[in-house]
Amino acid sequence: MAAAESYPEDLRYHPEHDWARVDGDEAVLGITWFAADALGELVHFEPPTVGATIAKDQPYGEVESVKAVSDVIAPLSGEVLEVNATVVDAPETVNDDPYGNGWLVRIRLSDPSELEALLDLAAYQQVLADQ
């Protein structure tokens, strides 16, 4: 069952509709409700490999729905520590719970100063209003 629209206060957002939950020098990344809703139910998640280096503003994986295949943009740079196997097995988890069980990867940050460039909730909501 697709989740209702929501954008948690404690996340940092990227204008390409990605979120990051930062914890020390690590972060968990995912896509926002808006992205999941625009794509529709996901049928495939093509994850990066564990150990790969991902770069801010660059694609690090792909999500696919019956409408489109879309790059997932990294909000922050770092090394991939873990890929969410639940989403690989059941991609619709992203639609059901985009900020919880539908997270995509966990990374170790290579440049924590990049955080400053991300959007807070108010700034991201402004991005959404302009869509």
Partner: protein
């Protein structure tokens, strides 16, 4: 509707072939022989005819109704094309026929090349590529051959593509071994020239552009774009998918493009939509001609035509023999019927699209509010926000009104996109009836959105579970899963099985 296997009963036959007598046993090794007879449906001839006639009525095509599938140019394909392509001199020609026995076919191909060169404003044509996508790949191979010849092959690695491009463009770039440089669209629906300026340099091999774009908009800055690319020493590739908008009006060669592919199956009435065959000839500027695929169709004298293999710098062959010949006959016939009035084809296509746009843009949203070319892109974003009705729902509901849906969710830069291309074929009555259906659907979205959510209601197949189809596709018929269908050829079913 039942499957032909479900109608099968052991022993029923469409014909009785006498058992051959007195013939020697064919010398087929035991290991290659079937252990059991093939599992073919067993039906009488009239059941067979009724079955496939019924099946054919479940199809939808240009011959049965309006088909405004954006970017696909689903125009009517005149019957005279089919008449001409079945002339014995064309239909019975063998691809290995000697040149002197195929002069008529070679002349037709040469004349088609001449017309395509004129329509595109370029110098030389190869008819070989079998579809637009293969034309793209061939074009990029020419780009590589050209820069290799100039010693710039290793330096020029990048191909620029706008974010509105057909999906085949980035795919062709990747397949040709180039790197992709995406460029944004500006608020008027043109290429963002400022974004572009920072991305084109001595590492750029080419631009790939559809003009008009997939938004149905003619790029107003095409001359500036030409200066940027040619100023950096790069080439320009024109994706001819939308050529139906500009024939006889503006020519890609005059816009500065160096390579163009033409979709004969879109613009020039080769039937398509059923899997082909298509035709994707490419036209190029003079300096690229030496690299074109072989054989080239050439004129040797006033009345002599031939195939020229003597092209030392050619990229080689890209398709068997000389290309999809039947497609050439149909396209040539179509062009010659228009003759010098080919321009009217594009003018009418643009007029029809603008008529629909003007009638529909208030009930839906028009993200780029400009005169369009041969197609335009509406957004169902407002219907989704206010009533929860999506572009998919609108498309499915249109089927109930007897129309093929427009292209949806493309181009990607428009949310809830509905891309509509009426072509020049249709009458005003058809266009008006389609508008009335679209307006009725917009009203239904407000009044009874559930009607749209559950559409189609009156088609042979209801709403499909597209997610399940994508995740667990069933791509072959499995008898094990349908024990009621036919069974073993020898097993006699006592009673007709009920429908599945």
């Amino acid at each position: 509707m039942k499957l032909i296997y479900e109608k099968s009963r052991p022993g029923r036959r469409a014909s009785a072939i006498p058992r051959p007598e007195g013939l020697p046993e064919p010398e087929i090794p035991e290991s290659l022989r079937r252990a059991e007879p093939p599992r073919l449906p067993e039906v009488p001839e009239f059941e067979l005819i009724r079955h496939f006639t019924e099946l054919s009525t479940r199809n939808f095509g240009v011959d049965t109704g309006f088909y405004p599938l954006g970017s696909c140019t689903m125009k009517y394909n005149p019957r005279i094309n089919e008449r001409l392509v079945t002339l014995p001199g064309f239909a019975s020609l063998h691809p290995l026929q000697e040149e002197d026995g195929a002069q008529g076919a070679l002349e037709l191909m040469w004349r088609l090349q001449e017309i395509l060169a004129e329509v595109t404003g370029l110098d030389a044509v190869s008819l070989q590529p079998a579809a637009g996508s293969q034309g793209e790949l061939t074009g990029l191979m020419l780009v590589r051959a050209y820069f290799d010849d100039r010693g710039e092959g290793a330096q020029r690695r990048k191909v620029v593509i706008p974010d509105t491009a057909h999906g085949t463009n980035p795919a062709s770039v990747t397949m040709a071994g180039y790197e992709l440089t995406p460029v944004k669209t500006d608020p008027r629906g043109n290429i963002d020239v400022e974004d572009l300026r920072g991305k084109v340099d001595e590492h750029t091999a080419a631009l790939m552009l559809t003009n008009p774009s997939t938004l149905g908009l003619f790029d107003e800055n095409i001359e500036e774009i030409e200066r940027i690319f040619h100023g950096a020493g790069a080439l320009m590739y024109y994706d001819g998918a939308n050529l139906n908008a500009v024939c006889g009006i503006s020519r890609p060669g005059d816009m500065g493009f160096d390579i163009v592919h033409i979709n004969l199956h879109k613009t020039f009435s080769q039937p398509h939509g059923g899997g082909g065959p298509g035709g994707g000839p490419i036209a190029v500027r003079k300096m690229l001609e030496p690299f074109l695929p072989v054989p080239a169709v050439v004129r040797r004298g006033e009345d002599e035509f031939g195939l020229d293999y003597d092209r030392p710098q050619t990229i080689g062959k890209v398709r068997g023999f000389t290309g999809p010949f039947g497609v050439f006959v149909r396209s040539y016939a179509y062009m010659r019927m228009y003759g010098p009035r080919l321009r009217e084809m594009s003018e009418t296509a643009v007029l029809n699209a603008n008529y629909l746009r003007a009638r529909l843009q208030d009930a839906y949203e028009l993200p780029y509010d400009r005169l369009c070319m041969h197609e335009f892109v509406l957004s169902a974003r407002g219907l989704k926000r206010e009533h929860g009705v999506t572009a998919l729902d609108v498309a499915k509901r249109l089927m109930d009104f007897g129309y093929h849906p427009p292209t949806i969710y493309f181009p990607l830069v428009v949310p809830e996109a509905l891309m509509i291309e009426p072509t020049e074929t249709e009458t005003k009555e058809t266009l008006d009836a389609f508008c009335e259906a679209m307006l009725a659907i917009a009203r239904e979205a407000a009044g009874s959105p559930e009607t749209l959510k559950e559409a189609p209601h009156h088609r042979p197949v209801k709403r499909l579970d597209e997610v399940r189809a994508a995740k667990t596709p069933v791509v072959k018929y499995e008898f094990e899963r349908h024990p009621e269908a036919g069974g073993e050829p020898s097993a006699v079913a006592a009673e007709a099985p009920k429908g599945v």
